[in-house]
């Protein structure tokens, strides 16, 4: 299972970077979305995969008896998903406004502020 997830993470990173290197602003945004998903999945995989063991300490014990699924990575991912969702929503509005103002979605034409 680790291997499958690792390959998925790698694939998402590759796809994200490929999309970001295209010239269209929309594809740049899709690339950013894929990158943040890749990072979330990376945390999930790196946190250790344990199947079907909830992180509950039973009565009278001070620590769990068997290996448990670590809840912290999942809490981290939850936060990260919320943040990346907000940021991507902002970026969507940004590219919409940019397209309205500039009439193009070609990154190569956004040169007015370059130096």
């Amino acid at each position: 299972m680790d291997i499958a997830l690792a390959v998925t993470v790698g694939g998402l990173y590759a796809a994200g970077i490929y999309m970001m290197l295209r010239r269209s602003v929309v594809k740049l945004l899709i690339g950013l979305g894929l990158l943040s998903h890749a990072a979330n999945l990376l945390i999930f995989t790196a946190g250790g995969l344990v199947r079907g063991r909830v992180p509950v300490v039973s009565d009278g014990q001070s620590q769990p008896l068997a290996e448990i699924a670590d809840p912290l990575p999942q809490a981290l991912i939850l936060t990260a998903i919320v943040i990346s969702f907000a940021v991507l929503a902002f970026a969507l509005v940004l590219i919409y406004r940019t397209h309205q103002t500039l009439g193009t979605d070609d990154l190569d034409q956004l040169k007015a502020t370059d130096t």
Binding site: A39, A46, V87, T113, T115
Partner: protein, 515 residues
């Protein structure tokens, strides 16, 4: 109790100010008053924090009384408290300045609450003791900065914002990946706990990989070579007040994080990490200043200078001696004040001529002699002319470099310093010295403002120049403070002990989930 309140106040005050000014959404005047009053209160609380840290050493607040490394930890050491103080100072100056310069449309879209949100993110990043919280504070700061950058929706702003948003999101993704890997490797995200575990980490390769991920993540935010190009593409597009607060604070959060990471976490393989940082520092200085020399617009020149000066701050970190690190701290103190101020002055010039292009302006020496003097003092301070603050900062760094016999970086620092002087004299000669050009530019007199607005326009500049000159004249005490900060940074044992009072207890080091 008082100490703990002092640690949380720099985060709670901007939040409260933001909330109250949101309540006053319909009244511009109320928002202005609330914004300035909130910033002034923050300045007081930052001063109190600095005083308490100086008296009691490192202050720690375990949020909800959950002991580290299980809960959220806020830590204020000397570096954090200095950074919070500088952030509060910049914020105060900019919120007064924005009274005179931000147009009603931007106030209508929530300019004042937004800068408070930005400040909350910045202060949170300075005070957190936990990597994931650092990520969250980064995002709070970034989202506020995205909106501030695009507020107004002008063509240049939108183009600059696409680059700024894309690059910052990439660096956030890298940071998040680094957090995932470091958690997998050590099973903790608390910085003090990480410091303990990374020192005895068996696999040096993983630690180096992590160090590089953090260099990429923080380096992009700090705008180091070769990851800086989003900065000159975007910083000159928003209104001046926004540019100034970005220039003063945002890249410095990246620098602060680099300093924190490479004095506390990654200190096992100095040969590799800090030599790489030294190389990055040198290249950042040189490319930044060369970029600045090619520019002909005030704010673009200043934007490139931010890049080149990040190099100086990294130089002290990379040399990693108490003296050099003290130089870095001194440089940050000097730079935040001076750079914000230069942007504010550039804003007054732009306001007068409706443009910042050097070819279209001139003659300010006669029409605004006071502004000319204020600019001259700040520019010379940036270039490092004694007895202003920049001179002592650079002197300390160069002495630190000579002490470790790193002659290449010392030579680079000296040459870059000379080139900085060149571009500052260029602005001086073009904007202030040469006669005003005879093109049809509508010249807006600053005198047309009401006296109160004029005070809001020029007061912050006078305040920040006073601080710069003050740092220069009181270089002794500031140097003592910087040196104490550097020593505290190098003594990571004290930091660990403050956050984890009983870390020798094996129960704290046990690690069931990550064999």
């Amino acid at each position: 109790m008082m100490e703990q309140v002092a640690v949380i106040l720099p985060i709670a005050l901007p939040l409260a100010t933001m909330a109250i000014s949101l309540l006053a959404w319909n009244s511009f005047a109320a928002q202005e008053v609330i914004g300035v009053a909130g910033s002034a209160l923050l300045l007081l609380s930052a001063a109190a924090l600095m005083w308490l840290v100086d008296r009691d050493g490192i202050l720690v607040l375990q949020v909800g009384s959950w002991p580290a490394p299980f809960g959220i930890t806020l830590v204020a050491d000397r570096l954090s408290s200095i950074m919070v103080m500088l952030a509060a100072l910049v914020m105060f100056a900019v919120s007064v300045y924005s009274l005179a310069t931000i147009d009603d449309r931007r106030v209508d879209y929530g300019f004042f609450p937004l800068i408070q949100l930005l400040l909350m993110g910045v202060c949170g990043a300075f005070l957190t003791g936990d990597l994931f919280n650092l990520y969250v504070w980064f995002e709070v700061m970034l989202i506020a900065s995205f909106v501030l950058l695009t507020l107004g929706g002008e063509r240049g702003q939108l183009e600059g914002a696409i680059k700024y948003v894309a690059l910052n999101l990439v660096s956030s993704a890298a940071f998040l990946a680094a957090i995932g890997v470091i958690y997998a490797a050590t099973g903790t995200l608390n910085m003090a706990d990480l410091a303990v575990k990374l020192r005895s980490f068996p696999d040096e390769g993983i630690v180096s990989v992590l160090a590089m991920l953090f260099v990429i993540a923080f380096g992009t935010k700090a705008a180091v070579f070769p990851l800086f190009f989003w900065l000159p593409a975007s910083y000159h597009t928003p209104p001046v007040a926004v540019s100034a607060i970005f220039a003063g604070l945002l890249t410095k959060v990246g620098v602060y994080s680099l300093i924190r990471a490479f004095t506390l976490l990654f200190v096992t393989d100095l040969e590799f990490t800090h030599n790489l940082l030294l190389l990055i520092a040198g290249l950042t200085m040189v490319t930044g200043v060369l970029g600045a020399m090619a520019q002909t617009e005030i704010r673009r020149i200043l934007s490139f200078h931010i890049v080149s000066q990040i190099g100086y701050m990294l130089m002290g970190l990379a040399l990693f001696t108490p003296l050099a690190l003290a130089g870095s701290v001194f440089y940050i103190i000097h730079h935040i004040v001076v750079k914000t101020n230069l942007f504010l002055i550039g804003g007054v010039v732009e306001r007068r001529f409706g443009s910042g292009r050097l070819a279209e302006i001139g003659g300010l020496q006669h029409s605004m002699p006071v502004l000319a003097i204020l600019f001259f003092l700040s520019a010379m301070s940036l270039a490092g002319i004694p007895p202003l603050s920049g001179f002592f900062a650079k002197l300390t760094l160069i002495r630190g470099g000579l002490e470790t016999e790193s002659y290449a970086i010392v030579a680079a620092a000296l040459v870059v310093s000379l080139l900085t002087l060149f571009s500052m004299t260029k602005i001086w000669a073009e904007a202030f010295w040469k006669p005003a050009p005879n093109v049809d530019v509508p010249i807006v007199s600053v005198n047309s403002l009401s006296p109160l607005r004029r005070l809001a326009l020029l007061g912050p500049i006078v305040l920040l120049v006073t601080v710069t000159v003050g740092i220069g004249l009181l270089a002794g005490p500031v140097m003592t403070m910087s040196y104490a900060t550097a020593e505290q940074l190098l003594d990571s044992g004290a930091y660990i002990e403050a956050v984890l009072p009983d870390y020798q207890d094996p129960a704290f080091l046990r690690d069931e989930t990550h064999p």
